[in-house]
């Protein structure tokens, strides 16, 4: 009786045993083949990555890509934490240019100039300055460029017409730019720019000597008392004294209202702002804006995205991570698709002969602006980054505010900034 019951139990269990064995045997080969790659990004880079997934699937059907997306600041804070603890590290991380400098100083990102990556063999395929931006003091290249932000001057053509001035008046020289601003203010009441700080930001980026960074040189000497800073401060002060700036911060409510209402006549920015304006900032002003080169033939970059591989990523994932980065940064179709859908100006030079560049941009009243941006992109020169750049940025902005709002003497302001930065230059 017991025997029969026991045999019965076995028989009842046996289909389940069989099924589970089968499932296990089926899962074993798939466990070996199905790998996954984690890519951490922020808007809109996450969209760009997702739209490249079909191309990735064709190359590696067995490798699943998981995109972890966070808001911009949160993403970079999360990457700082992940790099510092080596936990929850992605296999590929997207970094904005402002953060690449900081992350490049430590040893947390893999040096892509070394084997097996050897990124230097692709150097000529990208815009020259982009790879330089990801190079640290020791010569290690920590990230690959995917998109860039060539600087441009966006201006309201209707406001200029009302004031009787032309684009050439704006772009001839910096002094001419300010003088034209005074005319615009007098005739239309519109401000020349959002904040006098924008003036300082672009002017300190002109006239950088080779090997120099923005605020520090390669020996961590502080450069803030040099002529380009003095000129930047003087012209910014002139703008403020002439009441030519709206005194609104970028991305604030007042800033976007200024665009919508035409009270801000020009904006020096990356080419990508035209896309933002078209989509959500000021779509009602479609057709009223034009793009011009920056005054006095200045060339600067506003923004840019890079992809990096953390050093502590499992070694098995690194080849795939590198292949993914190559897909995102060296594939012509992926770069162009990102450009067409998300306004991400490609870093890859091969894309520059695409007819898309010659198409008119509706938001800019049909102007074929991309040609000018493409030209500017090739002429931007790289600026070496320093660990204390973020702090220096803040100190200089503070001193500028004191010069603008409280009539502080420029020489004193720059000397104070020098002192503050010297304390931390070698930390």
């Amino acid at each position: 009786m017991r025997e029969r019951i026991q045999r019965g139990r076995l028989r009842r269990r046996s289909p389940w045993l069989c099924l589970s064995l089968c499932l296990f045997m089926l899962s074993v080969p798939s466990v070996q083949a199905q790998q996954s790659l984690i890519v951490a990004a922020y808007p809109a880079v996450d969209e760009i990555v997702k739209s490249a997934l079909p191309a990735w699937k064709r190359l590696h059907p067995n490798v699943e890509v998981k995109v972890v997306s966070r808001q911009f600041t949160d993403h970079h804070t999360a990457m700082t934490t992940a790099l510092s603890t080596s936990f929850y590290l992605p296999d590929v991380m997207a970094l904005e240019v402002g953060y690449v400098g900081r992350f490049a100083q430590g040893g947390g990102l893999d040096d892509l100039s070394k084997p097996p990556y050897d990124i230097k063999r692709f150097e000529s395929r990208w815009v020259p300055y982009a790879l330089q931006q990801a190079t640290n003091r020791k010569g290690a290249i920590v990230a690959a460029p995917t998109d860039i932000g060539p600087g441009t001057l966006l201006y309201r053509t209707d406001v200029l017409a009302k004031a009787g001035v032309s684009e050439a008046d704006l772009t001839q020289s910096w002094e001419g730019y300010v003088a034209t601003g005074a005319k615009i203010k007098a005739a239309t009441g519109s401000y020349l720019m959002a904040h006098a700080r924008d003036m300082k930001d672009i002017l300190i980026r002109t006239g950088i000597q080779p090997g120099e960074g923005l605020y520090f040189d390669s020996q961590s000497n502080v450069l803030v008392t040099s002529p380009r800073f003095v000129r930047a401060f003087e012209l910014a002060r002139k703008v403020r004294q002439g009441k030519l700036d709206a005194r609104v911060g970028a991305w604030s409510n007042e800033w976007s209202e200024g665009f919508k209402r035409g009270t801000i006549a020009t904006q020096m920015t990356g080419a990508w702002l035209a896309g933002h304006m078209n989509n959500w900032l000021a779509p009602s002003t479609r057709g009223l804006w034009r793009a011009a080169p920056l005054p006095e033939r200045a060339f600067a970059a506003y923004g840019g995205t890079f992809f990096a591989i953390p050093r502590a990523t499992p070694a098995a994932n690194k080849p795939l991570a590198w292949e993914f980065i190559q897909l995102m940064t060296l594939d012509r179709n992926v770069q162009l698709s990102a450009f067409k859908t998300q306004d991400a100006f490609p870093a890859l030079l091969e894309t520059y002969d695409d007819p898309f560049f010659d198409q008119p941009i509706e938001f800019l009243g049909g102007q074929v602006a991309r040609v000018g941006w493409r030209d500017a992109a090739r002429r931007i020169s790289a600026v070496t980054v320093h660990k204390q750049d973020a702090f220096a940025d803040e100190v200089i902005n503070t001193e500028l505010d004191k010069v603008l709002d409280r009539n502080k003497d420029i020489a004193t302001a720059l000397a104070d900034a020098q002192r503050l930065l010297q304390q931390r230059a070698h930390r």
Binding site: T73, T77, T80, T81, L83, S84, T85, S86, R102, F103, Q105, G106, G107, G108, L109, R247, G249, N253, E254, E257, R311, A312, K387, Q388, A390, F391, E394, T398, D401, K402, D405, L420, Q423, R427
Partner: protein
């Protein structure tokens, strides 16, 4: 159904088992960060290089923090904000609680609830909304000031131009202080209301019979009886004020405002860690702030300490 003997715990373990959820969470999220922060304060650490990149530097971070102009600036800002938001909280809450206590019977709970609402609302939500309200050209606060400035007498005291609350270094501090005051005054009202209810009514009756007016009763009966609660409330305000972070952080977009005038010490040490990538100095600053909090709490304790039996 009884568990098998091997899995059963003796009743002696019961207290520890019941305490363990709290103890474990406290150890992980309270004690460990404290200890790690103390350890980190003596290290120089480039965070993006990973944990192994820490280098012992002794008191270097503390020396740097004490020499840092911005650290002292942030302490000054914190002190200003703590006093400007803390003092009105209590100066307004005490008479308000007394008024509510004596005047409202059926409506009391509703009124207290209305004052308490800001305290239980999310700080971030409040700060985001106030950012809109404080907007220079489109904010309601400037619209309101403008309207009041049309009234002849008030126009002498009110600014003629819209106040640039969030960008002008001089006005960001009052803006933050206003929000913090608004948020905590209800909390203090509730505390004082609770304390007022412990004062026996016969003392007031005796005083009325002796001819004491309402004001005299307030100053000679109510206030001295509230002393323990004032001590408690002020201690909380001191500690909270010195650690002020959320309201100024949201209002200034995480940066501390123009000329760092809204940058409290808590914001500065956060920025040191995550914006300027200097975790060692940030930890050192957090412990220096701790010393300040301890000293001030001790002083508060001495000021409010109940006097001997002769009182």
């Amino acid at each position: 159904m009884k568990l098998p003997a091997a899995l059963r715990l003796s009743p002696e373990w019961a207290p520890y088992v019941f305490l363990s959820p709290f103890v474990v969470l406290f150890a992980v999220f309270g004690v460990f960060p404290l200890g790690f922060s103390l350890y980190l304060a003596f290290q120089s650490w480039e965070p993006t290089s990973g944990l192994s990149a820490m280098e012992f530097v002794g008191f270097d971070n503390y020396v740097f923090a004490l020499k840092d102009e911005w650290f002292w600036k942030s302490l000054k800002n914190t002190a200003w904000l703590a006093i400007a938001s803390g003092v009105p909280q209590h100066v307004v809450a005490i008479p308000l609680a007394y008024f509510i206590h004596s005047s409202f019977k059926t409506l009391r709970n509703g009124v207290v609830g209305a004052y308490f609402m800001p305290y239980i609302t999310s700080t971030v939500a409040i700060a985001i909304l106030f950012s809109s309200l404080f907007s220079t050209d489109y904010g309601l606060i400037n619209v309101g000031i403008n309207m009041l400035a049309q009234v002849p007498v008030l126009s002498w005291f009110l600014p003629a131009n819209p106040v640039d609350w969030l960008n002008d270094p001089a006005s960001i501090k009052p803006a933050i202080a206003m929000i913090v005051f608004w948020r905590y005054v209800g909390f203090n009202v509730v505390l004082y209301l609770a304390a007022l209810q412990t004062i026996p009514a016969d003392i007031y009756e005796a005083a009325t019979m002796d001819g004491a007016g309402r004001l005299q009763q307030f100053f000679y009966i109510t206030l001295p009886s509230l002393k323990p609660m004032i001590f408690f409330g002020v201690t909380l305000s001191v500690i909270g004020g010195l650690q002020l972070f959320e309201e100024p952080f949201i209002l200034t977009g995480g940066r501390g405002g123009s000329d760092q005038s809204g940058m409290t010490t808590a914001i500065y040490l956060y920025r040191m860690a995550f914006d300027f990538n200097d975790f060692g100095a940030a930890s050192a600053m957090s412990w220096l702030l701790f010393v300040v909090v301890v000293v001030l709490t001790w002083l508060t304790n001495r000021a409010f300490r109940p006097r001997g039996p002769s009182a």
